[in-house]
């Protein structure tokens, strides 16, 4: 399997361990990634707040660069998925608008084409379940995550709004994290926050609202006995992990729950060591996860 790869901004900024672990995992399971190093930020919904056409054109450019490779496109960020799907929906809905947007791409010699050979932009989570397949993934597991209690945390943009994110064809997209956790041999922890918001989008506008959301979900997961959370969204990771000590102050209780990026969780089951997967770079200690798995030979 070969895909055009959009790593996003945060995986090359504050969460390099995500970009690094994705590279290791892709190589191990045989997914060849062609990085779109000329592509630009998705706008994270913020640029669309300023100027919708600008956000649509920026993402049309990324799609066009991906289509030029002749490959399907993969992202590793729920927020990229959501912001890009939103723009793609508008681009696909109106041929005149699409032509107008493509005018701005012409000087680079690229064009976004609707339904181009069934071209799709998919988060790694979707690729893993829909294209790679859970059976094939299971066959690659060398260290089942036996006994590891994992709370899924999706990030809003990869599951909502339902009318935009392909649920007609893939109705279980909001269950994939549970399916992956189980495929890797882990145990799913059911808790209230799995499909709620981490609060990151308002961290600079209303810090209390933002951190209260993160802190509440972490506390819920701890109360249900989670050893760690797993998320396909690096922005959720920023609020759940990097801001965890601050969130603890807002919800007024001790937290301390490891938050893994999706490729890190997959990587552990493929036999990589926590250190290789950059788990030492988190704010909330991931040592407990390593200890839980230490008994299971890689």
């Amino acid at each position: 399997m070969k895909l055009a790869y959009w790593p996003g901004c945060v995986s090359r900024g504050f969460t390099t361990e995500l970009h690094g672990s994705m590279a290791l995992v892709a190589d191990r399971i045989g997914i060849e990634l062609v990085t779109l190093d000329r592509a630009n930020c998705c706008g994270a919904g913020v640029i669309a707040e300023h100027n919708q056409e600008l956000a649509d054109t920026l993402n049309a450019r990324t799609f066009a660069l991906a289509q030029k490779t002749g490959l399907g496109m993969m992202n590793i960020c729920s927020t990229c998925q959501g912001a890009q799907s939103e723009c793609q929906q508008r681009l696909d809905a109106d041929s005149q608008y699409r032509a107008h947007i493509n005018e701005a791409l012409a000087d680079e010699g690229i064009e976004y084409v609707k339904d181009n050979d069934d071209w799709e932009n998919k988060n790694f989570l979707w690729v893993l379940v829909e294209d790679y397949g859970l059976d094939q993934l299971k066959a690659k597991v060398t260290r089942p995550l036996s006994g590891l209690r994992v709370g899924p945390f999706y990030g809003c943009y990869v599951i909502r709004p339902k009318h935009r994110l392909g649920y007609e064809e893939h109705p279980e997209r909001d269950l994939y994290l549970e399916q992956v956790i189980e495929t890797l041999g882990g145990e799913v922890v059911e808790y209230d926050g799995a499909r709620k918001c981490c609060g990151f989008p308002v961290i600079t506008m209303n810090r209390d609202t933002s951190l209260r959301q993160a802190g509440t979900h972490i506390a819920d997961a701890l109360d249900q006995g989670a050893d760690c959370l797993v998320t396909p969204c690096p922005l959720c990771h920023l609020n759940l992990d990097m801001q965890q000590p601050e969130a603890a102050k807002v919800v007024n209780r001790d937290l301390g729950l490891a938050v893994l990026h999706l490729p890190q969780l997959v990587g552990l089951a493929l036999g990589f060591e926590p250190k290789q997967l950059g788990m030492g770079r988190h704010i909330a200690s991931t040592e407990w996860v390593g200890e839980r798995l230490a008994g299971v030979p890689a």
Partner: protein
């Protein structure tokens, strides 16, 4: 109203309609009992295509007449029967019981051999419960709606006849006018869960109904008010929960984003919540770098132009200082281990001439600033895209072709 559900089932499906057994697990609360809320299960039997509301009314009719649920039209018009079904805020009359049952049983049972899971019905969230599934719409929903001055503020001089506006300008606010005040979006709102003072999706959608109305003369004042309020437009966490919950396609979050565009871009309102600063910083960074420089975003969101000798506002300084412990932890853990990630502005540009192309996109988009509202335009391509041959043809005349 006894036996009504059965009658309705017969009406819709005839006597041959398949009757299925369902379990409704209802969160109940009796205010006079002195007890807290509790769960009660009801066995109901009805056609899978009938609604959860039909199921509730059957339970009320056959098992417990004290079960309270608010309802009226049963056709998703009146907006009375807002509840949470399997955790999703919606209308009970709009949700088929068969589908709700399937949704409740999407995940395989843990031991693989248990009974099917019940359809869970709860009162709406983010508002007080009066009794069982009946919530107090007044203290939360209506109070917040009134907060946004939900009436037209005109120039004071009544026209001789009606105020005439071009129809296309009213099309723009059609989407918000579709609201039936059911409260499902308020129930689903994840910002309000964390901040009960948040004005919320229903009221802010209503606010856009007047901000977007060409007859209203206080557009800037409305936007100023909603932007400066710490619980206003910049308190929305952009989670899409209200978009999924709304039974009428109002997409409240989309309206909140339009309010932000109008406040920040059109009116250039510099709010004290850093909303506009954050947005402007983000937009500027991508224009210069192509990808996000997180350190610069943090600095510019709180204290724009601090590098250019402007003095940050006290509120911004507080935010900036508040983020310092996080930055120090990041340094220690190695998360921000390399200098370029910590120092604002050192983040690299895109390779080659890519940044020039991004800049060009900015110029192109700022010139037009088109918006597409799919609620109005629909999602189908009505006009098929012309293929290249057609495009290369000269202007087509409507007359007969020469060889005809």
């Amino acid at each position: 109203m006894s036996a009504e559900p059965e009658t309705r089932a017969e009406e819709q499906g005839g006597s041959t309609a398949p009757q299925e057994q369902y379990t409704l697990k209802v969160r109940r609360f009796k205010p006079d009992s002195g007890e807290g809320p509790y769960w009660q299960e009801f066995e109901v039997e009805l056609d899978p295509t009938l609604s959860v509301l039909d199921g509730l009314l059957q339970a009320k009719d056959r098992e417990d007449g004290s079960l309270s649920v608010r309802c009226s039209c049963r056709a998703a018009i009146c907006g009375s029967c807002g509840v949470k079904i399997n955790g999703q805020s919606t209308l009970a009359c709009l949700t088929q019981i068969g589908e709700a049952h399937e949704f409740a049983n999407r995940r395989p049972d843990e031991d693989g051999e248990g009974e099917p899971k019940p359809v869970v019905v709860e009162p709406m969230g983010n508002m007080p419960v009066l009794k069982d599934l009946v919530t107090d719409m007044e203290s939360t929903h209506w109070t917040k709606i009134r907060r946004v001055t939900p009436w037209l503020l005109d120039d004071g001089d009544p026209p001789e006849r009606e105020r005439v506006v071009p129809p296309e300008s009213m099309v723009d606010i059609t989407q918000t006018i579709a609201c039936i005040q059911c409260g499902a979006c308020v129930s689903a709102c994840l910002s309000m869960e964390a901040d009960p003072d948040f004005i919320g999706p229903a009221a802010l959608a209503k606010a856009y109904r007047f901000v977007g109305d060409p007859r209203d003369v206080e557009t800037r004042e409305r936007l100023w008010d909603l932007a400066q309020d710490p619980h206003g437009i910049y308190d929305c966490t952009h989670c899409f929960a209200c978009v999924d919950a709304c039974p009428k396609g109002v997409a409240p979050m989309d309206q909140i984003m339009r309010l932000r565009r109008a406040a920040g871009h059109d009116e250039e309102i510099k709010d004290k919540n850093n909303g506009h600063n954050h947005e402007a910083a983000f937009v500027n960074i991508i224009e210069k770098k192509g990808t996000l420089d997180e350190s610069l975003l943090l600095q510019e969101s709180y204290a724009p132009g601090v590098a250019g000798k402007l003095i940050p506002k006290p509120s911004a300084l507080k935010g900036l200082l508040g983020s310092i412990p996080t930055a120090i932890r990041g340094l220690r853990s190695g998360k921000m281990r390399s200098l370029p990630k910590l120092i604002p502005g050192i983040h690299p540009k895109l390779p080659g001439d890519a940044q020039e192309h991004v800049k060009h996109i900015y110029e192109h988009a700022e010139e037009h600033r088109e918006e597409v509202n799919l609620y109005i335009t629909g999602e189908e391509d009505v006009v098929p895209e012309p293929d290249e041959e057609e495009l290369s043809q000269p202007e087509v005349s409507t007359g007969p072709k020469e060889n005809e």
